[in-house]
Symmetry: C2
Subunit: 502 residues, 2 copies
């Protein structure tokens, strides 16, 4: 680095990159508690933890994101020597790589959970985040619909453990095989699953997936000639015939209060195809398996509009929606929408090994769930939002003494720190204590030291702190106590046991 050049350079701007976030103490304390709860449920269901590196070889990760208009199809990727590396865009693709790589030593089925950030190369824009946390559980190597049903029970159990009522959410299931049956009946794909042109199946799924956001006409356009959005960008359509579009739309908008009725209707619609029948039977089995679970009563429904955005699903798909409304920062009431989803992906590991390893999983979006819970239980106090006991510095030459005081408090489990800013003004030091939400301040000036005492101030009891008060003025407040310096630890343990951290 050239010193001379550096001074000429313009200063870099201090800003979070567009689409990314910084997280501070209280948020992180709550997220940690939430992730611990989820991890405990995962473990109780028998899943083991796995963490892969954030970076994968691009070819191992595959391209399953629907964001085809972004560089590298929505993935952050770069060239490293002669290979392309990329950041993982979910936790499932790396799992497939791990299973293929370690299959000799992993148990079958391999049941793992994973938690961590994933990255998407989304178009930057307000509220569209390019890094977010996921918590996933997957069962790899099981073709039992029991494994799919378990994901539903599991996610309901997690939401319950996090404090949601079962009226707060709805679990919607569908099956890609039923969709394939519909496409076969419509003549979009043939019996072997092959489409008349290359990506028509994927385009159809992605069109259906946008039903919530674009409405019926938007989906019709995407299935037909294409669609122009408000910004004038044009998305190519699947070019299906009006009859094909009608059939798909009639399937998509199928609504029945009763899942037995919808199963009957689906059987009629796709019963002539093998793949469709199989899909309907699986839906029936899953509904049957979860029927007796009290957490799920009236919480689970078949919804034919659920397809899930990712390309790799092959069977049952699940989507979990929160049902309560929240008021956003601008005062608008809105639905929370999806906080978790998943499904069966039997072909993902085959990419590596050539061998089908049937797999199914669920993925929970932590950031969205955090916002939802925050909206639900407003302002529940977090134990971590209380600051440390502040040992003020009256005499800079006695720093070692102040450190000893803080250490003696830490040893019995209090959070404590010595004030390390530049000011010697007690008012400014207590202003810092205020900013940190410190419960107590400890003051020992020359006079107190001579008399072997300590001034203890209960800041949470005190009225608003005057920023310019002198030491003398502070001494006159009634929410402070003078105690013998040797009694400090004992006094605090007795009077403030709730501040003991561990």
């Amino acid at each position: 680095m050239k010193k001379t050049d550096k001074s000429k350079m313009r200063r870099p701007k201090a800003e979070t990159p567009v689409g990314f976030q910084d997280y501070f103490h209280d948020y992180l304390a709550q997220r940690k508690s939430m992730m611990n709860t989820i991890a405990e449920v995962f473990q109780r269901y028998g899943f083991d933890c796995l963490e892969t590196s954030a970076i994968e070889n691009l070819d191992a990760l595959g391209k399953f994101l629907p964001d085809l208009d972004r560089p590298n199809d929505g993935v952050f990727a770069w060239k490293d020597d002669d290979k392309w590396l990329s950041l993982r865009y979910d936790l499932t693709a790396p799992l497939a790589r791990v299973v293929a790589q370690y299959r000799q030593s992993l148990p079958t089925p391999y049941r793992r959970y994973a938690m961590g950030p994933v990255w998407r190369n989304e178009k930057p824009g307000p509220g569209r985040f390019r890094q977010f946390y996921q918590c996933d559980a997957d069962t790899v190597g099981s073709n039992s619909v029991g494994a799919d049903a378990e994901m539903i029970v599991l996610v309901a159990d997690i939401l319950g453990s996090l404090g949601l009522e079962n009226t707060d959410y709805r679990i919607k299931i569908n099956n890609r095989k039923v969709l394939d049956g519909v496409l076969e009946v419509a003549g979009v794909i043939d019996e072997s699953g092959l489409a008349s042109h290359t990506d028509i199946r994927g385009m159809t799924f992605r069109a259906i997936d946008k039903y919530d956001r674009l409405g019926l006409q938007g989906v019709r356009n995407l299935l037909g000639k294409g669609r122009e959005d408000t910004s004038g960008d044009f998305t190519r359509g699947a070019e299906l015939t009006p009859q094909q579009i009608d059939l798909i739309v009639s399937f998509l908008t199928m609504k029945q209060s009763n899942s037995q009725k919808i199963i009957d209707e689906l059987r009629q619609l796709v019963g002539s195809t093998d793949i469709g029948s199989e899909g309907v039977f699986e839906l029936y089995q899953i509904m049957d398996l979860v029927a007796n679970n009290p957490n799920l009563r009236n919480r689970i429904e078949i919804d034919t509009s659920v397809v899930r955005g990712l390309d790799y699903y092959t069977g049952p798909v699940i989507e979990v929606e929160l049902t309560f409304e929240i008021t956003d920062k601008k005062g608008r009431v809105r639905q929370f929408g999806s906080v978790a989803g998943g499904g069966r992906y039997d072909g993902l590991i085959k990419r590596f090994t050539g061998q089908v390893i049937p797999s199914t999983g669920i993925s929970i979006g932590i950031d969205r769930l955090m916002s939802a819970l925050a909206a639900k239980k407003q302002n529940s106090p977090s134990p971590n939002s209380i600051g440390p006991i502040l040992v003020t510095v009256m005499d800079p030459h006695r720093l070692a003494d102040y450190f000893n005081i803080a250490n003696s408090l830490r040893q019995v489990g209090f959070r404590s720190e010595v004030f390390l800013g530049t000011t010697r003004n007690i008012g400014k030091q207590l202003k810092y204590a205020d900013a940190r939400n410190c419960p107590l301040a400890i003051i020992q000036g020359e006079d107190e030291k001579t008399r072997g005492v300590i001034q203890l101030k209960d800041l949470h009891k005190g009225t608003e702190i005057s920023k310019t008060a002198t030491l003398e003025e502070w001494r006159l407040r009634d929410w402070q106590a003078e105690i013998n310096e040797h009694d400090l630890v004992t006094t605090l343990r007795t009077k403030y046991p709730s501040l003991i951290y561990s």
Copy 2:
């Protein structure tokens, strides 16, 4: 994705990218426990948590890594639309960005800790990892040497909390200002700190930093004409004169058992320079502040060869070394070396704001510390390494019943799962239980169901599991019990309370 093209493509190789690692359950359980312990100590000292996104704007991150021969100076970076993005290479540079960005709302001093992965674009090679975990604590906005001394006390407290004896480590301190004094005396830089040519100061620091690895002659070459490594790669030297090199080397190799003696000697060497005197006085103050801490007695020493690799340090620097030897996989005895380090960096935030914000911090390398602790306390059992109670599947049509059994166990805190693999063979199911280290298996076939009982097998008590046994054979084993199905939960709670997870 084109179906037809895809089948023609060669299969991707399932491999962890070079220089990266996958972590499995037991390792992760231990790491989590370690990181929780460290976080608790950080919090006890009054630090608050911060998490920045993994990705930063490249210009905000700056280039402070010494790995000048790698693309982007050792950082993973790529172009995103019209801007360069990069993965953070440490937790300090993002902290500087956050402080500059949020300085109006953060308390002063701002005391934060951060934990997470960082990425280095190192030359791939065995044992050189390109992603690793760091745990950092920093005090931003304090010019007190107390803040530097606190980092030393803090790191000793952390190592103690993790179960290390204070004879297991050594904390070495030095001061970049003393080094600047030496360079000024040697005539390498002038009074204003400017060097005769642009990067000579950085090159000198980096040369000294390699003392441990390259030995004295290696450092001499790097200070002089340059050095050729075993692979034939040539590193340009700082081109100092033999007299300058001699002075630096005499400083570098200064060894004294007694820190007062070394302080006296340093004062003599650099006392004629302002910067050097200041550095020596700071060393004296730090030694004085930690002198009474019982954890640190005989654990801290001044070591003039410590400079720390990163370019941004400006004052006291700290390095923490483990002193015990370990035997590596190839049977070689080796020293563990550095597990933590840090120091003062007064200029890092100035890059953004133009204003000096004095700061100091410590960074702990989690991966290395994990290996060290594993070597220290061999095979201590982790509570997470015990698998779930396995509910075997005798009759696929009764999956819902088996799920109910597993759920009833989970509800009282047992880890439990239903076997979801394809086999109905009891021997194979128990082989899976073995691979998962399951403590118990539950069996309920048709006969048991009719009689309303359950077979309970204690797998940890059992002898080696015969892989091909029939159900009848298993029934004859004496380490199994037949119990009434309604008594299952009560029986397990009474007989196996230690398996209750939470």
